[in-house]
């Protein structure tokens, strides 16, 4: 079993996507893993992509993780997927396609409801159709803003229970190359608390930058 873990987060530190991929990898435990970081640019997305594509087509499963940006795939993820689609087609023409991997997606969003990632997961499904590879399952994680803060809580414990459960289910699909309905989850805290904690977080951050809470309301048209 060979699995590629492909991270589309723009962040090298404090990346929620990286944390979610790590937990999935721990659940899978066995097998060979390839890891990739999607470049943070929309230009020259085809640079070096054919080698990557060739390696990906030796995998049984591809797991993508990225943040939701404005209701969909981030621009740089779109560019990368399009370059991969073209590279896959070229390799198929040259009969260099070893396997047809199954694709899984983990999308996190700052809104409380994991369901708000569903359009990005549907875009991944459309990509699979066009790239002629198979779709497996998606997991949409809400309240992404607090996932990093929970990193030291053991998987499956307390507020992490629902997210860990969904990742465990996903790992079972990945491990058996299965296909299942998308799952949408949020951390185990009430929405109102997430909202209040988030707003307190913004006030603390703006003050840490030497501004006041009033500055959060700046209008550039004044």
């Amino acid at each position: 079993m060979k699995t590629a873990l492909i991270n589309g987060s723009p962040k090298r530190e404090k990346s929620v996507s990286a944390l979610l991929l790590k937990e999935l990898r721990d659940d899978l435990s066995e097998g060979e893993f390839l890891t990739y970081q999607i470049p943070l640019t929309i230009y020259n997305a085809d640079e070096g992509i054919s080698e990557i594509a060739e390696d990906l087509l030796t995998c049984d499963a591809l797991v993508f993780a990225f943040p939701l940006y404005a209701d969909g795939l981030p621009g740089h993820v779109t560019a990368y997927l399009r370059a991969l689609e073209a590279a896959f087609a070229m390799l198929r023409n040259k009969q260099k396609q070893e396997k047809t991997p199954r694709v899984y997606g983990i999308v996190n969003c700052g809104f409380y409801e994991g369901k708000q990632t569903h359009l990005a997961l549907d875009m991944m499904k459309l990509w699979c159709e066009k790239a002629k590879i198979d779709w497996g399952q998606g997991v949409g994680v809400g309240a992404g803003g607090m996932v990093y803060g929970l990193r030291n809580i053991p998987a499956g414990q307390g507020p992490k229970k629902a997210i860990s459960g969904a990742l465990r289910d996903l790992s079972e699909q990945v491990g058996t190359l299965g296909m299942a309905q998308d799952q949408f989850v949020s951390p185990g805290i009430p929405r109102i608390l997430y909202k209040l904690a988030g707003e307190m977080g913004w006030r603390n951050q703006v003050k840490a930058n030497g501004l006041t809470r009033r500055d959060l309301f700046t209008k550039r048209t004044d």
């Binding site: 779109t78 703006v206 930058n209 309301f217």
Partner: protein, 171 residues
Amino acid sequence: MKLIIHDLTQEQAQKWLPSGKEVKKITDRGVIQSCIGCFGCWVKTPGACILKDHYEDMGEKMARADELIIVSECVYGGYSPFVKTVMDRSISYLHPYFVIKNGEMHHRRRYKKDLTMRVYFYGEGLGEAEKQLARSVVEANALNYYADVKAVEFAERLEDLEVSKDENGTD
């Protein structure tokens, strides 16, 4: 003012898009940087992106516009990489605080205004499922950006798109 975010070349834009004093076009100059997810546009320079590459003032530009027009290749039921990156860089239009709308969490407004949106997608062989996804994406954007969707149109070729030069008599 009309704000047009598009992925056409300069020449194509001149030929196919409205122009004039009341039109501001956001064109791919080959230099746009991708959103780094830092939220600096909310907590460091509120209302503007911290990346300085000619695309940092999208929030302000949207605030000054009445109508947002998007002309984009349809890619996996969404926008092309350039158009999407402009959208990704536009969240300074919103306020970081949350509100509950339609039973779901969204961002609070930064500006007291409503936009109208017209979206024109082009691309060969777009299936019904892809078009439906693209319509849903535009509706979701409109909900988040406090906008009213006036049109979502599709054409096989760019030449077939009729981007409204019309109605308000501008251009």
